[in-house]
Amino acid sequence: MKEYSQDLSSLMDNELGDKEVINTILDDAVLQKQFSRYQLIGDVLRDESNGLDLRMDITDSVMAAIANEKQDDYVAPLAAAPEPEKSNVVPFMKRFGQYAIAASVAGVVVVSSLMVNQGSSTDPSVAPVLNTVPFGGAAAPVSLQATPLQSENEIKERNERVEALLKDHQLQLQTQP
């Protein structure tokens, strides 16, 4: 053990070239503790300890605690949630927000498209594309192409109008006698 003290200090100074010695140190818990102590001493001597010089090695105790932990204390996450629970969905709302209804019936979201300048070069014969899907479809954004003459505000109003119409259309489809 004693003969390794010199090697340890060489190791600390990055001057140890002998692999075999390093491996011996790595295998020897006592030497490792000694190495750790030397490091601590070195830090204190160099005044690099920042006041907290008691660097206790708690790895072992933590590892031991984990090893002793009972296996069934761990709750494995469910791979996938089961089918959604619906029994509790028995709502009773006195005042239904009309907005909410329409929004989820249609599943349509109008993203006000600020395509004021982009519209100028488009072929007028090409119908603007509406990216919306009726219920039974996704809540995809609606983009309404506009001619350059329209102001942003007008486009926004127009989008809202189209959205309202689409939602109403969906609602009417659902309740068709």
């Binding site: 089918e83 959604p84 619906k86 029994s87 969905v89 028995v90 709502p91 009773f92 709302m93 239904f96 927000g97 009309q98 907005y99 909410a100 209804i101 329409a102 929004a103 989820s104 019936v105 599943g107 119908a127 603007p128 594309v129 509406l130 990216n131 919306t132 899907v133 009726p134 219920f135 039974g136 479809g137 996704a138 809540a139 995809a140 609606v142 309404l144 506009a146 001619t147 003459l149 329209q150 007008e154 109003e157 127009r158 109008r161 189209v162 309202a164 119409l165 689409l166 939602k167 109403d168 259309h169 609602l171 009417q172 489809l173 659902q174 309740t175 068709q176 006698p177």
Partner: protein, 336 residues
């Protein structure tokens, strides 16, 4: 040795005979087979009626994709029959949870982050319902049914049937049916130029003898309250009528109501239906001025056509070609 040779000769003769018989047999049998297939081969109409029955009566689970304008949306439908009544559970596979359950004259909507609610409806709202519940016998006035051939969809042998519109006022369809169950596996909406406007394609089909336990369970659970859409027979709203209807379309709704979210904005509303497609016509006072008097927005098969005249705005929404929307809008006249 001689015996052996003789045997070999015999054997070869026998095998020759056998093989000639083998070669001959299909030729002999073929006419019979032909007659048989002619008798057994169902017409397109039979297939379509089989689909109608299967879609209503079987217990199945479909995973499918909706494609329109390069957007693909995966969805699921579970259908079953509980106490002789159809039950359909539908939900989006991607994004926020959005589900609906249709059973016993009601359809309930559940969506992440909003209040669940029900609407009263007796019409099947599920994915292939519009096609699968079509009255194909009477529908031959508007469509011609043609078997296109066999195909393979979702790993199943399928038959493709084309429903060609007899006029320019509606789209055509191609529907693929599973040859075993007759359930629809794919539906393309096609315009006059044979372009696919919208496509619904099943990727997984699972048919069971018994009702899916999940929807069986749902069928006995309480549903959210039924909402009744407020009708506003406002005297102040002028009445309108259509002077032209596309062939075989009928008016199924004609009322005045307020648009959701737009409390101050009553509209005159007319709904047209030809058995597959439903078209909404809105007539209202002009809200926002368009730079052009006419405006067309399209998404997949769905068209929103807007026309403004002086102080009146007409909106036509539905899965119809532009020409139909234009003609409908042009035929709107005030009622006296």
């Amino acid at each position: 040795m001689k015996h052996r040779l003789f045997l070999v000769a015999c054997m070869s003769l026998l095998s020759l005979l056998a093989s000639s018989q083998l070669i001959a047999s299909p030729e002999v049998a073929q006419p019979e087979v032909k007659i048989e297939t002619k008798q057994a081969l169902p017409s397109a109409l039979t297939y379509l009626n089989n689909m109608k029955q299967a879609y209503r009566e079987l217990n199945y689970k479909l995973l499918y994709l909706n494609t329109a304008q390069n957007q693909i949306e995966p969805k699921q439908l579970i259908h079953g029959v509980v106490d002789g009544k159809s039950i359909a559970y539908f939900y989006f596979l991607n994004g926020a949870m959005r589900e609906s359950l249709q059973f016993d004259g009601k359809i309930s909507f559940y969506q992440q982050g909003s209040q669940a609610y029900s609407l009263a409806t007796n019409r099947d709202q599920s994915v292939f319902a519009n096609i699968a519940n079509f009255d194909f016998e009477n529908g031959n006035k508007s469509y011609e049914y043609i078997i296109l051939g066999r195909d393979r969809i979702a790993g199943k042998k399928a038959i493709a049937i084309r429903m060609i519109s007899k006029d320019q006022y509606r789209y055509s369809y191609i529907v693929w049916l599973d040859l075993e169950s007759y359930l629809p596996l794919r539906l393309d909406i096609i315009n006059q130029l044979n372009q696919i406007l919208e496509q619904t394609m099943v990727v997984s089909l699972n048919i069971t003898e018994t009702v899916n336990p999940w929807i069986q369970q749902l069928s006995v659970q309480a549903t959210p309250d039924v909402l009744h859409l407020p009708l506003t027979a406002i005297a102040a709203v002028p009445k309108w009528h259509l002077e032209w209807l596309p062939p075989s379309f009928k008016i199924v709704k004609d009322d005045q109501h307020k648009l959701m979210m737009h409390d101050t904005d009553p509209v005159s509303y007319i709904m047209l239906n030809d058995g597959i497609v439903r078209v909404s016509v809105y007539i209202s006072t002009k809200q926002t001025k368009l730079t052009e008097q006419k405006n067309t927005i399209r998404r997949g098969g769905t068209l929103i056509y807007t026309k403004q005249d002086e102080n009146v705005e007409i909106n036509v929404i539905g899965e119809i070609p532009l020409i139909t929307a234009e003609k409908i809008a042009a035929s709107i006249k005030p009622s006296k």
